[in-house]
Amino acid sequence: MNREELSKRVLELLTEIAPDVDPASVIPGVAFRDQFDFDSMDTLNFAIALHRELGVEVPESDYAQLASLEKCVGYLAERVG
């Protein structure tokens, strides 16, 4: 999966967790928390979705790597085949 595909997939998962978020409005470099009140429950659900859909188990200590779309794609790119 290239970065573009990965980014698209992440956005899909994001809107699945937060159906009230418009994927077109997501700014890649800005933290989800600052854009749409992403909270610890959202982060947990996001980690669960990443594990289920992409097979990547993100430890809690790496949650900071999931903070924004940009960070997330960078982190996942190294871990998804």
Binding site: P19, D20, F36, D37, L44, N45, A47, I48, E60
Partner: protein
């Protein structure tokens, strides 16, 4: 036996609702607890359950029609056993008392919510009411405005009627956060717990141990609820909030509570709560989460008599046995009703809650 299914009141301030969907038709067999209709209210779109077994005979109110609380929505031929048991048997998964009240029209009851501290952001869930003004992304300005009005009304009533007192205490929860981190490192991602799950469980157990905080004040007197149903304040991203209950909170394991909370928050944000969940809370927890504030001064939702707030867990200097150490601290606060309890009992309640939080292995 013929029976009527009426629009239940979901709150002291809800006087009408609009049928959005019927999940049943004449001839459908229903069991108590089945979601039979979706009703648009000022709390968003709510799944309304039926509290009798039987067969639907007639749908009285069609989709799109706005009707007052207590209006007959449908008629059914109730199974005799259920009908004989009468309204007292209304329970289902819900506590008998609360569910029965919720299913009876014209009950001045139930949940609304707590102070909104979350910053508003530009989306709101909830299905649009027919005829509502739709924004480009499909949300209804009307539903947002009506939720705001309902919060205003419930909070005004609370401030007018309930002589609040407030207490707050700072708790060193380092043990709990370390316990959580260790737990979460060894379970699969689906089994991870949030600090809020510990709070919910500790609160439920504390309510059971210390009467006077989990129940309802109605008609001039307080009644302790036999079961503790902790309502969890959920901030909606478009502004506004709801506080649906996790049923029988004290009896559930932490993993079960975590699953229930995840599911509840998802449905609250998607506007898919059940009528019984909204009417059930006997006390509410408002946890403002990470990167938020130190202390919340929570406002009680009538007819409840207490609400517990938790600020952000923060790392701060703290004195332990004469040494200044870096510890994880949280501020717990209690808003309680002076008609029922006094500060001394409230302080005992908070102290017990704090003690339970410091010993997560027993939760």
């Amino acid at each position: 036996m013929a029976s009527e299914f009426r629009l239940p009141a979901l709150g002291a301030d809800m006087d009408a609702g609009t049928i959005v969907t019927w999940h049943v038709a004449p001839g459908s067999r229903v069991k108590r607890g089945d979601v039979v209709a979706v009703v648009e209210t000022d709390k968003g779109a709510i799944d309304v359950e039926i509290f009798e077994d039987g067969v639907v005979r007639e749908i009285v109110v069609p989709v799109g029609q706005r009707v007052a609380v207590g209006t007959v929505l449908a008629r059914l031929d109730a199974d005799d056993a259920a009908a004989d048991a009468g309204p007292a048997a209304v329970a289902g998964a819900a506590p008998a008392d609360v569910a029965a009240r919720a299913a009876v029209p014209a009950v001045a009851a139930a949940p609304r919510t707590v102070p909104a501290v979350q910053a508003p952001s530009p989306t709101v869930p909830a299905a649009a009411a027919p005829g509502g003004a739709m924004s480009a992304t499909g949300e209804s300005e009307d539903s947002r405005a009506s939720m705001r009005a309902a919060i205003a009304s419930a909070m005004s009533r609370s401030k007018r009627e309930i002589p609040h007192y407030y207490l707050s205490t700072t708790v060193d929860v380092t043990t709990a956060t370390e316990w959580l981190a260790a737990h979460n490192a060894k379970v699969p991602v689906t089994g991870r717990l949030l600090f809020a799950a510990l709070l919910v469980k500790a609160l439920a157990l504390t309510c059971r141990e210390t009467p006077g905080f989990s129940g309802f004040h109605r008609d001039g007197r307080y009644e302790e609820s036999p079961a503790v149903h902790v309502g969890v304040a959920v901030a909606l991203r478009g502004g506004g909030l709801v506080a649906p209950a996790i049923m029988n909170t004290a009896d559930q394991s932490l993993p079960a509570l975590m699953t229930a909370m995840r599911e509840l928050v998802a449905r609250a944000r998607a506007g898919r709560l059940r009528a019984s969940e909204l009417a059930a809370p006997t006390i509410v927890l408002t946890s403002l989460g990470e990167d938020s504030v130190d202390v919340v001064f929570p406002i009680i939702q009538p007819p409840q008599v207490a609400i517990v707030g938790a600020g952000t867990v923060v790392e701060r200097p703290w004195v332990v046995e004469g040494k200044i150490l870096s510890r994880q601290l949280v501020s717990l606060s209690l808003g309680a009703d002076h008609r029922v309890t006094d500060g001394r009992l409230g302080a005992q309640f908070l102290a017990r809650l704090a003690r339970r939080l410091c010993d997560p292995a027993t939760l």
